[in-house]
Amino acid sequence: MNRIFRWVSQRLNLPPVLHHLLDEPIPGGASWIYIFGSVTLAVFISQAITGAFLALYYAPTPDHAYDSVQYIQTQVPFGAFVRGMHHWGASLMMIAIGLHMLQVYLYGAYKAPREPMWIVGIFLLVLTLTFGFTGYLLPWDQTAYWATQVGINLVGTVPWIGQPVAQVLRGGTELGAVTLNRFFAIHTLFLPWSIVILIAAHLFILRRVGAAGPWDEVKAKKVSEPFYPRQVFMDAVAIGAVFLGLFLVAFLFPAHLADRANPSDNTFRPVPEWYFLFYYQLLKYSTGRWEVVLTFVLPVAWFGLLFAIPFLGRRGDRAPTRRPVAMALGTVFLLVVFTLLGIAVKQTHSLVLSDPGAVRGRALYTKLSCEGCHRIHGTGAQVGPDLSYEGDKRDRDWLIQHFKDPQKITPGSIMPAYRLDETQLNALTQYMLSLKKK
């Protein structure tokens, strides 16, 4: 290995290149606080790799998208793992970016001469959020379909340009085949190129202006250490730990796949990914003409502020103690975001408890006109037994057998045997089991 490297190194005259890449001085020396940028980059590379592999079996059409994802998840060896890596990797990327931005903000590292790096970084954040939004639709399950429906409709509420933009996003007036194909193309072709170019720009600027180092000028000037080996080592250990965590999560917690997208189902309540949850929660508090403030004014103002941050405040003062306003605003922002996130998670959790199977079962109960014979809490006829507390009386097996062949289980019953498929049978049973006193 060493001999091969030496041979290549001699032929290509690598030492000056390596010197340039690895011996970049870090003011104040290597530190664990600087790992987040490298971790973000590593997770991005993992997303690019797992994403490319997912595309081996993914079909971006409404007819096949769901089946192909299900095929990946259940049939392909390691498919659940690869999809899990990509799914959880997306969340991990958001966390890594959040921590990276917090560190840069805390250290005042966005100040002159590093404004361009911060601005490119905000564009990278926007691209990453777009990755998240476009990727969310691809499994074409209920969550994907309805969350995207809401997301695009949000854009539609923006005055004047909203509707045309929403239409362009959808590729028409309805969310369908064209939308899925567009989101797939954006997610896998347009965004990757854009983000690679911007990452290169981000790193190029870093190398041109140099790492910021500690906010204490004296400390920064006292020690300087090359990037290699200690900082690279710290980055590698952090990346190793993060990947170990990601591997475990991908193995232990398979990415969720809800039911196939069903545009005619009006019982489904979509919830976005957790990193959009705080905003989703915020939208719940808006009504009428205030809505546009939240859907348009606030996001625009927010990203405007993010871009303006390097130009606000006094030049040169990087220590947090000398930036009380910046620190206070940052703290308030984090408090608001995490409070909203907390409320949203709590409410979403209680929502998940109302079993989607039972919800489908109730829809089926109505569709089959079961209330023509049965009564639940005062609604329906009294030809057959009252089902208000059926969940307390029967177990799953009994119900399933009963639906398959009522007379076999209850001789003399006049209930017809409905020809239900497995999913319908389970849904109806689930609904019956949910009918309990408490």
Binding site: I49, F53, Y57, S68, P77, V82, P229, A236
Partner: protein, 168 residues
């Protein structure tokens, strides 16, 4: 043995971590990309029809619906099989593909022979080659009778070889 420097040690540790991550990713990814290509396809039983529709020593073609699956995509296609009952009462089914080069052969009721129009291979009722270039007898298909219904597994075999081997 050369002395291990601090720089050298860190360098190796970094390389080790990178190799571990790489390996932990490469093994599942390789399996993910490669293994499904070698997965044996399970061919389902296709229904031919009531077994009493078969005539003794008079082969007829019957259409069968084959449910095919390519990855996540399921599709039905219609193919045909030759089937009859021999004098002993056994059910015989033949693949409709000539084992020479894959043409569709026909039953000549007068001559009581199967004839392939492409290269003039001629087969007896029991499938044996009577004349022509066919390298092996007609290919029988796995068949079963359940509740009076005949089922076959529609398999395709390699053509042009003396040995009957499932294609693909």
């Amino acid at each position: 043995m050369s002395e291990v420097t601090r720089r050298g040690f860190l360098g190796r540790a970094i390389g080790g971590i990178a190799a571990l991550i790489g390996l932990a990713l490469a093994v599942p990814l390789a399996g993910y990309a490669i293994l499904p290509a070698f997965k044996k396809k399970e061919r389902p039983w296709s229904e031919v029809g009531p077994v009493d529709r078969l005539e003794v020593d008079a082969p007829k073609t019957f259409d069968v619906v084959i449910s095919m699956q390519s990855g996540w995509m399921k599709s039905d296609s219609v193919r045909s099989v030759w089937a009859f009952r021999n004098k002993v009462g056994e059910v015989v089914t033949y693949s409709p593909i000539c084992p020479h080069l894959g043409c569709a052969y026909q039953w000549d009721g007068e001559a009581r022979q199967f004839r392939c129009p492409c290269h003039n291979s001629v087969f007896a009722l029991n499938g044996q080659v009577i004349s022509g270039p066919a390298p092996r007898p007609l290919d029988t298909l796995p068949e079963k009778v359940e509740n009076g219904q005949l089922y076959v597994i529609f398999e395709e075999f390699k053509v042009g070889t003396p040995k009957k081997e499932v294609a693909g």
